[in-house]
Point group: D2
Chain length 343, copies 4
C-alpha cells in the first residue's frame, strides 16, 4: 500500500481525486491539506465523502509530504513548483494537476501564466501526463505535468489525423466548450449560477493559455509547427467538455473511423463511435473515458472531429490517477473502471 | 455467480441497474429485454455502457427469464404482475421496481393504479423492499415490492420519530420535491427540457399514488392510522429527491439527532447530519445513501426533518440491488459502496 | 416627467429596475450610482441595456440624490437607512428594496439584521409596500419598505384565508422555494453554478429573517398572533419563488377558490387559478404577476395554497415600481403590463 | 387596426408571437388556430397570457383566415404551403415561420424537407424576411419566408465581411449552438429534460437543413458560391443561439469592428460589441437583438465572429413581427423595443 498526499483539496479536482482514491485498493490517503481549512473535517466540506474518508484537513507541511510516496497538487497555478524540488529530492513522486510543468518553453510559460517560474530546470524532466502518447515515460517519471482539460480533449481528437498525415497542419481549428466546473471552486461573480445558467458565450477569444499547450503537443507529434485557432466557450452545465475540431483534408481520407479505431485499439479510456454518431458529454460524465467520432459532412471540404470528456475526470483527476497507477506499477485502470452516470 | 435478467431496461431505472450490475462481482447479466428495441445493442441506446456490457436487447421471453436466478422488472406499472406467478413457480426470484406489489389492500391499489390486479393473492407474500425496516424478511423473500422514490425518502425520515412516539400521528406533512428523471424516459411534452427547466411547480396536489403507500408503511409501523398530507413538486434537475417533513411535537423531543443516529447506527445507507446542517441532494447523487437532518427551528412548534436521496438509486435501482444482495446472500453493500458524484 | 435615482444598481434588483424603467413614459432616470463602478457605463456591466440607457455609474452623492423626486435603494441591508432622513427632509421620496424599514419592532429588526438601526423613529412612518393590503397608505407615503420576496408570496397566499377566518392561526406552515438570484450578485462560493445546479436543499432551517416579517404582517392582519413555521429552500434555477402553504381548516371551507377570486378581483397583479391547477413559476417569470391556487387535497385535513412570483419582479423590482406608480400618481400598472416569458 | 391570425399557435413560436402581439397597439389578434385544441382557452395552455388574451383556439378555417389582413404560420414544415395560394388570392398577407418558402431551388428544398412542394411557383415571389438585407422588398411583399434561427445568426455575422471582400469565400465555418427550444414543443424522448440537461452534443453533423439556406443567402450576397461547413450543437438551456464563425483573412482586415459598426449603424436590432468582448446569449434573451463581436485572435490566421440571438425572437417570432411591421407600414420596432431579461 502506497501513501498518497493531496495538496489543496478544497477544489473540484481535489474532491474528485478523493472520490476515486477512497476506493483504490492499493493506496492509502495519508494527508489532505488546506491552509484555510486546517482542523476541519474533509467530509464537512464535501458530505459525499461521509463514511468514506476519516480525515481532517491539515496545514501543508513539507516534511510530512515528503513521507508520502506520491503527492498530488490540486492547487492554483504557481504552487506546485514551490515544493516540487524538495519532494523529488526526498524521493516523493509528484503529479501537478495545475499548469506549472505543462509548457516546455519557460518564456512561453511565463508570458501566459504571468509569473516567474520557480524551477525552470525541472521543465525538461517533467513528463506530460497523457498516457495515450507518453505511457512508457510516465511509468518511469517522478514528475508529471497533468494535461489541461481542453488539451486532453483536443489532442486525443487530432492525434490519429496527424499521425496519418491526412490533414493540413497549417489550418486547424478547435472550437471547444466546457462546463462551468472548469473555472474552479472559488468565489467569483462570473461563475455564479445566475450569471452562467441559461446562457452561453465564448471567452478568452483573443488568446487562452491552453492554446500554446495544445500547439506544443501537436507540433511535437507532427514534427512541424501547427497553426491552431482555439476558441473556448462556457456551457451552462457543471461537467463536460466537447471539442469540435476542424481540419482540411489532404491525401487519402477514406476509412477515418477505422483509422481512429485502430489507433486507439489498446487504449482503455478512448472509445471511437461510428461516423455520424455524435458523442454526448453525458455519456462520459463522472468517467475517465474520452469518446470521439470522426466525420466528413456533406457540403464540406473538412473533417469534423467530435471529442468529449468529463473535464474533472479524464480532464483532471481521473487522468491524474491513471498516471499514478502507471507510476506506481498498478493496473492502469484501477478504481477508474466505472460506467458514466447517465442520465 | 448468479444469473440476473432485467425486463424493460430502456428507462432510467434500467440503465441505472446496469451501471451498478456491470461491476458486481457475484452476478452475471443474462438478458436485458425490450420489446421495441430487440436486436439492437444496449450500449447503442446508452453509450455510457460501451465497453462494460456486450449484450443486445432481446424480446421478453418467459421461458428464458425462468432460467435466471433473479429478475428485475424496470417496467411501467402493471407489467410485472403478468409474469410474476410463473417466475416464482419456476423458482426465479422477482424484484419489481414498479408499483404492482407495493400496496397490500387490492382495492386501494386498483383505485390508484386504475387497473385490475392480475395476482392479488401474491400481495400478501410480497415483501416491501425497504431494508431498514424489513431486512430479515427480504433475505427470505422471493418477491420484492421495491419502494417508490418518495416513500423511501419520507419513510426513512419519519421512522425514528414514530418509533420514539414523540410526534402526533394525526398531523404529518410531507412536502416533497423530485428531479425530472422521476417521470421516466418516455416521450412527453410535460417533461421536455423547455417545459421544466427554469421552472418549479407542485403537481398531483389533489392526490398522488405515493400517499397511500407511505401512509400504509407509517401506519403499520406506528400501530395506528396516520394522517399525512403529501405534496409533490418538480425540481428543474435530473436526479434527487428532498422530503421536507413536518410533525407536531409530543412528549420529550430532546436529543432528536442522537435518537436518529442511534436508530440508524447499523445502516450502511442512512446517514444522519447534525441539527441545522441541511442535506443537499447533490451529496447523494449517484449514490445509494439517504442523508437526513432533524431540526427544531426557532419560532416553530414543529419538528422539521430533511431527507434526501437520489431517486434513481436509493429511490429505485440502488435499493433494488441492495435487496438483491440480501436475497442472494451477498454483502448488502456490494457494488453500492461509492461516494456520490460532487459536484 | 419625474426624476428618479437608483442607488446601488449593480445587483439583480438594480438591473431589473432599469429593465422596466427605461420604457416608463413618465419618468427619467437621473442617476445610477455605484461606488465601485463609478465612471463605467451601466450597459458595459449589463449589455441587455445597450441602446436603452445612456448613463455611467456615478458615486452616490447625497445632494444630487436630493434633486430626484424619488430614489430607489437597491443596496445591501443597512445602507438605505443612512441617507433616508436627509432625502425625506429634502422632499425626495424613498423606496428601499432592502430590509431596513420592513420590521416595526426595532429590537426584532436589530436581532435579525445584526446591526443598530440608524433611524428607528422612521420605522413608524415607513409604509410596507404591498399594494394589495396598503394601497391607500402607499399613495400617501414618502418612505416605502418594499417587502421581501418570500413575504410577498407567502402573505398574498394566506391573506384571504385569514380574512375569512377559516384557518387556525396557531398552525401555519410555509414551505418556500426560491431561485438562486434571490441570493444576489456577489462573489460567493455557495451560489456558484457548480454548487447549486443539479442540487436542491433547505437552508436557514433554524430561523430566517423573513419569518418575523411575514409573521408581523399576518398577525397584524389577523388581529392576533400567528404561529408560522417557515422553511426556505434553494431551487437550481435563476428566477422564481414558490410558496407551498399549509393551514388547518376551521369553519366553512367551501368555495375557497371563489373566496380568493373575489378577494383579489380588482388586483391587477394577483391571479387565481382553479383548484387542482398548480401554478408554475415560469408562468410569471419576468412579470409582476402572482399566481395562486388554493386546494383541499384528498387524504388531507389541510388546505394547501400554492403561490408563485418572480422573486426579482413582484418579489422586488416590479413591486417597487408598482409602489412608485402609486406614490407618483401614475397608473399602477405602467410599464408592468407584460406577459411572462414562456418558455 | 389590422386583423392578424396565427395558425398553429401551440408551439413555442406561437406563444412567443402572442407575447409580443398582445401589446401591439396597431393590430388585433383575430384568431388563433389549433386543430387539436379547438375549444379550449389559449391561456389554459399558456398561463403567462392570462389577463392578456381572451381567446379560445379554433379549428383552422380558410375562409375565416382570408378575412385577416395578415396570417402567421407557426406550424410544422409543409403546412403553410397548403393554404398560402388561397390566402394570397384573397389579399391576405402571409408570413411563414417554417421553412416552406426559404429555399429558392425547389429540388434542393424537396431533398432536404422530404416532400413535394405544393406551390413551387410561389418560391420566386416569396421574400426572405431578413430586414437587414431585404427591407424594401419586405415592405412590398405579400409572402414572407421567415428565416431559420441558425441562418439569422450566421448570416448577420458573415455579411459585413462578405461585403468588404476581406475573407475567402471557399473556406467558411459556422460552429453553431442552440438552446433546446429550437427543437419545438412536441413529445420527444431526445429533448426531455433528463436527456438534454447537464449534457452537450453536436447533432446532424453529416448535414443539416439550415446549411443550404445559409449558403443560398451568402452566395447570393457574395455573388459567388461559398463553401460553408456547418455544425450545429445542442446547449442545455431553453433559449439562445451562438454562432461562432471562422473565416480566412484576405486583403485588408484592419478595423473590422468599425466595419461592422458602420455596416449596421441604422439597424435597430443589430448591435456590435468591441473586439474581445464576447457576446452572451443571455444579453439578448427575450429580445429581438442580435449582438456581434468580430475578433482577430492571437495565434490565429483567422477572423472569429461571435453572433448571438434569441432563437425564438430574432430567430423566429420577433423577426416575424419585425417583418409584419414593415409589411403593414408600422414602425419597424413596434412592440419589440424591450431590453432582454437579465439574469
Amino acid at each position: 500500500v502506497k501513501k498518497v498526499g493531496i495538496v489543496g483539496a478544497t477544489g473540484y479536482t481535489g474532491v474528485e481525486l478523493l472520490r476515486f482514491l477512497v476506493n483504490h485498493p492499493n493506496i492509502e490517503i495519508s494527508m489532505v491539506t488546506s491552509r484555510a481549512n486546517a482542523g476541519s473535517r474533509v467530509d464537512a466540506m464535501f458530505p459525499n465523502l461521509r463514511g468514506y474518508l476519516d480525515l481532517e484537513f491539515v496545514k501543508p507541511d513539507l516534511d510530512a509530504l515528503c513521507e508520502c510516496d506520491l503527492v498530488f497538487f490540486a492547487t492554483p497555478n504557481g504552487i506546485a513548483m514551490q515544493s516540487t524540488p524538495a519532494l523529488l529530492a526526498a524521493g516523493t513522486k509528484v503529479i501537478d494537476l495545475a499548469a506549472d510543468f505543462r509548457i516546455k518553453d519557460v518564456a512561453v510559460w511565463e508570458k501566459w501564466y504571468g509569473m516567474t517560474h520557480a524551477c525552470p530546470d525541472l521543465l525538461g524532466d517533467a513528463v506530460y501526463g497523457l498516457p495515450e502518447i507518453n505511457r512508457e515515460q510516465i511509468q518511469q517519471a517522478n514528475l508529471i505535468a497533468n494535461p489541461g482539460c481542453y488539451p486532453t480533449a483536443v489532442t486525443l481528437g487530432f492525434l490519429p489525423l496527424l499521425k496519418a498525415g491526412c490533414i493540413q497542419l497549417d489550418d486547424l481549428i478547435a472550437d471547444t466548450k466546457s462546463g462551468v466546473s472548469g473555472a474552479g471552486r472559488k468565489a467569483n461573480v462570473a461563475t455564479l449560477f445566475s450569471e452562467t445558467s441559461e446562457s452561453f458565450k465564448a471567452y478568452a477569444v483573443m488568446g487562452h493559455r491552453h492554446q500554446p499547450e495544445i500547439a506544443q503537443t501537436l507540433s511535437h507529434f507532427a514534427g512541424d509547427a501547427v497553426d491552431l485557432t482555439f476558441t473556448p466557450h462556457l456551457i451552462p452545465m457543471i461537467r463536460g467538455i466537447q471539442a469540435t475540431l476542424y481540419a482540411k483534408k489532404q491525401g487519402n481520407t477514406d476509412n477515418l473511423t477505422q483509422l481512429y479505431t485502430d489507433y486507439y485499439q489498446n487504449e482503455p479510456f478512448v472509445d471511437i463511435l461510428p461516423e455520424g454518431v455524435p458523442p454526448e458529454t453525458r455519456s462520459v460524465r463522472s468517467s475517465n473515458m474520452c469518446q470521439i467520432s470522426v466525420n466528413q459532412p456533406e457540403n464540406s471540404r473538412r473533417i469534423v472531429v467530435l471529442s468529449v470528456i468529463d473535464n474533472l475526470v479524464k480532464g483532471a483527476a481521473g487522468q491524474a490517477i491513471q498516471n499514478m497507477n502507471l507510476m506506481l506499477g498498478f493496473d492502469e485502470a484501477t478504481t477508474l473502471r466505472q460506467p458514466a452516470l447517465l442520465p
